[in-house]
Assembly symmetry: C2
Homo-oligomer: 110 residues x 2
């Protein structure tokens, strides 16, 4: 227990759930917002802006990298993170596809 029973669900459901789960943390949203609007995006920037330990920020960055919504390049001793715009839009698309499904509004008598 404690583990999600992924075998029970479709690939699509698991994939979307995983994306949403990663996005479902305020620190990760804050990081994304900051990367999106800023020019130079190194990990230390986040540490200065967001009141979390450097180790914690680094962990969150790793999660975001896993769903490929951001990517990092090494530039000297610093790390430069940026949005993977294609993936960003793809994710937006996947989410919207979910929300655009037809909703039966006549199923409940409210």
């Amino acid at each position: 227990m404690g583990t999600t029973k992924t075998q029970v669900f479709t690939e699509k459901q698991n994939e979307l759930a995983n994306i949403l789960k990663v996005l479902g943390h305020p620190a990760r949203l804050a990081i994304l917002e900051q990367i999106a609007k800023q020019d130079k995006c190194i990990c230390n920037d986040f540490v200065l802006e967001i009141d979390l330990a450097q180790a914690t920020i680094s962990q969150h960055l790793k999660e975001l990298k896993k769903i490929e919504i951001i990517q990092g390049t090494i530039s000297g001793k610093k790390m430069s993170y940026c949005i993977n715009k294609e993936r960003w839009e793809a994710i937006q698309g996947i989410i919207n596809q979910f929300f655009k499904q037809n909703i039966q509004t006549n199923n409940c008598s409210i």
Copy 2:
């Protein structure tokens, strides 16, 4: 520890993160899909469709109710769940607002 440091983030970030977190589970996506497309939506329907114990389904329904994306009405001894369409669309809007923020694409040399 183990707790998200919500004080550190904006109301908006926490709110969106919370919504995404709830949506970030395949069982809850499956439930939403089933409610959305079906006509009669009682808890037992989910138990028959989704291979999870009744107690587990009930718990997931509770999570979904918390963000008000679904609502339930008692009809006899059965429970009728349906999508809260207004909220559904509002959530879609909140998510899209996040994704529509301007992305600096020239921040990383890739």
